[in-house]
């Protein structure tokens, strides 16, 4: 086990973790949020060191943390492309053109579903219902949802992603941490 002091959590990250731990009557509750925090601090995925650091900081065995991390699909225990394009192919999207979107994206990116481009820029996968079916076909990239994607505008989406801020596993994890941690101006009654 790695000592927490040898970890990579920034000072801000450590303060956020302390705040998160205070939300729960038992530090176990902080495991999921701590994994989000670690995924941000480690650049968008959870290498073994990140698991070890979470374990050390929460005083739990690394095997337990690893068991939790691998259960949930949004924790990246393997490194993925910088932009993880997830195309919903579930019931509504699947009937409204999602598979054509995938065909087109495979063409544009030169990869198959489940693969990452050679430059590490894009990973393409299929997603279960993203619960925004009114905008089928729906695509998630990092913290952002894109609705109304079709075979015609799929190229625009890729072009937009190339130049955009965020939409990475790291910015996704950061946005989640920011939502979990109370605002600095929440006032004296907070806590």
């Amino acid at each position: 086990m790695v000592a927490a002091s040898a970890g990579r959590f920034s000072e801000a990250g450590q303060a956020q973790l302390a705040e998160i731990v205070s939300h729960y009557p038992d530090p176990g509750g902080a495991i999921l949020p701590a994994l989000w925090l670690a995924q941000r601090e480690y650049g968008g995925w959870l290498p073994a060191d990140a698991i070890a650091e979470v374990a050390a900081r929460l005083g739990r065995p690394a095997s337990e943390i690893q068991g939790v991390a691998t259960f949930y699909t949004m924790y990246n225990t393997q490194q993925r492309g910088r932009r993880h394009i997830e195309v919903c192919t579930c019931l509504t999207c699947g009937c409204l053109g999602a598979y054509e979107v995938i065909d087109r994206l495979e063409q544009i990116l030169g990869i198959h579903l489940g693969q990452t481009t050679a430059d590490g820029e894009f990973t393409l996968t299929e997603a279960e219902c993203l619960n925004y079916c009114e905008a089928a076909t729906v695509v998630q990239v990092g913290e952002r949802y894109f609705g109304g994607v079709n075979a015609e505008n799929a190229a625009d989406l890729v072009a937009r992603l190339r130049g955009s801020e965020g939409c990475t596993p790291e910015s996704l994890s950061n946005a989640i941490v920011e939502a979990i941690v109370p605002g600095r101006n929440a006032g004296a009654t907070h806590g």
Binding site: G28, P33, Y75, T92, Y99, E128
Partner: protein, 443 residues
């Protein structure tokens, strides 16, 4: 034929996600009204409203509230289920995005009524935007004294509200799995009655726990502001009030529609602009877990818990998916099966193995390599899952497949006989990311 908007009335007012505009449209009046009453009187008001849980099961809300211990010093927890993952449903996402204060207010009222000092909103990991909106709302509510210590000057009422985000698991929407996940475990369910305790007796961290859906909490401020009797006057006698339906698929104007319970099913399709791209073939009225209704069975069906049940389906979460006659039902069932196989938490054998087998057999049929006996094989797998699984996910995986075969058996037979779709020109997606290799197909 019209919507009846109670929850969604102000959803498009600019700034309604902020506390000032929310207050100027009647926001937090329900909390003030609640604090003017005894705690039990608040529960009685919810009882008078007849409100039933909007997360899928339709359980009377007041019974849960009334079930928490009313004396003693034990800590209570209040949970909001915002893990919305049922395919076809997108109401909780929009409520949190546009009307987060309504959910916060509903939870504060529930906290007062049930003497709960701590609450968590469990937000689905993908819903980053909704979680961000909720964060802002919670921070504002603290500053204005609607959350935190001595709420609105009442020394006997403190309530802290936190956000906990999921990380990609449909099963975490099941209430006991959600509790496991909140406590930092894998998202697997826990025993419930008759084998284990009710959450209101022993839930998270062994404490009495109340869990309700986002939409359920969002109804509460209106009930306290206008009275339970006012709410009960809407809808039907056994399914009172309004309900948000998420309409998607082959309709002109997909989106969330709030209607009185008891509204004819066909009216909802009209409200959403009618069927596009062909004639109506089928509707899944309550999310992917409920049985599909073929067009000829839609006439006369009313959208209330009893009306849907009488028609052989369920109201569920209100995820209302409309399919036109270009839809290949077998391919639709294949995709449904893929969802459950992917989301099965793996804790019990009937569901873990059964959902994968259903998925593989449907892969085989839509790969053109099906056998006639596969259709009965599917039904037999369904029988082995339904009622034999640890939690309702297994049952929910079997119902749609059974109903698909019951109502569209000829389409399954066509696939087997011809190795191709009964829909002219329909080519099924060849890729399958169901777990495991596809039997009978050359890879």
């Amino acid at each position: 034929m019209a919507e009846l908007q109670v929850l969604l009335q102000h959803r498009n007012v600019p700034g309604i996600d902020g506390i000032d505009v929310y207050e100027s449209h009647g926001g937090y009046a329900g909390l003030r009204a609640a604090l003017g009453k005894e705690r039990q009187a608040v529960i009685d008001e919810v009882k008078a409203s007849g409100l039933r849980g909007r997360g899928g099961a339709g359980f009377p809300t007041w019974i849960k509230w009334n079930g928490l211990p009313k004396s003693g010093s034990a800590q209570h927890y209040l949970l909001c289920n915002a893990d919305e993952g049922e395919p076809g449903t997108f109401k909780d996402r929009e409520l949190l995005l546009k009307l987060p204060h309504m959910v916060v207010e509903g939870m504060a009222i529930a906290a007062y009524a049930t003497r709960s000092a701590n609450g968590f909103v469990y937000v689905r990991g993908e819903f980053v935007e909704s979680a961000t909106q909720l964060r802002k709302a919670i921070d504002q509510a603290y500053r204005r004294g609607y959350l935190g210590r001595n709420i609105l000057g009442r020394s006997d009422f403190c309530f802290d509200l936190h956000i906990h985000t999921g990380a990609g698991s449909y099963e975490c929407g099941e209430e006991t799995a959600l509790m496991s996940s909140l406590m930092g475990e894998r998202g697997q369910p826990r025993l419930k009655p008759p084998h284990g305790p009710l959450p209101v007796v022993s839930g998270v961290w062994g404490s009495p726990t109340l869990i309700n859906n986002v939409e359920t909490y969002a109804c509460v401020p209106h009930i306290l502001t206008h009275g339970g009797a006012w709410y009960a006057a809407m809808g039907t006698q056994r399914s009172p009030g309004t309900k948000i339906f998420s309409v998607s698929g082959h309709v002109a104007r997909p989106g969330n529609y709030e209607i009185e319970l008891g509204t004819p099913l066909t009216e909802l399709i009209e409200l959403a602009g009618g069927v596009v791209g062909g004639a109506l073939k089928a509707v899944i009225p309550g999310g992917s877990s409920v049985p599909i209704l073929p067009a000829e069975k839609c006439a006369g069906v009313t959208l209330d818990y009893e009306g849907c049940q009488a028609a052989g389906t369920m109201l569920g979460s209100g995820g209302f998916m409309v399919f036109n006659d270009k839809t290949d039902i077998v391919a639709l069932m294949r995709r449904t099966a893929q969802f459950y196989a992917h989301e099965s938490c793996g804790k019990c054998t009937p569901c873990r193995e059964g959902t994968r087998w259903i998925s593989r057999v449907l892969d085989r049929i839509t790969a053109g390599a099906g056998r006639m006996e596969d259709i009965d094989l599917l039904l037999s797998i369904c029988d082995q899952i339904d009622g034999r699984s640890y939690c309702p996910l297994g049952d929910a995986a079997s119902w749609p497949i059974r109903a698909g075969i019951r109502n569209f058996r000829h389409e399954f037979e066509h696939w087997v006989r011809h190795g191709s779709s009964p829909i002219p020109g329909f080519v099924p997606p060849v890729r399958s990311h169901g777990p495991g290799p596809v039997p009978g197909r050359q890879e």
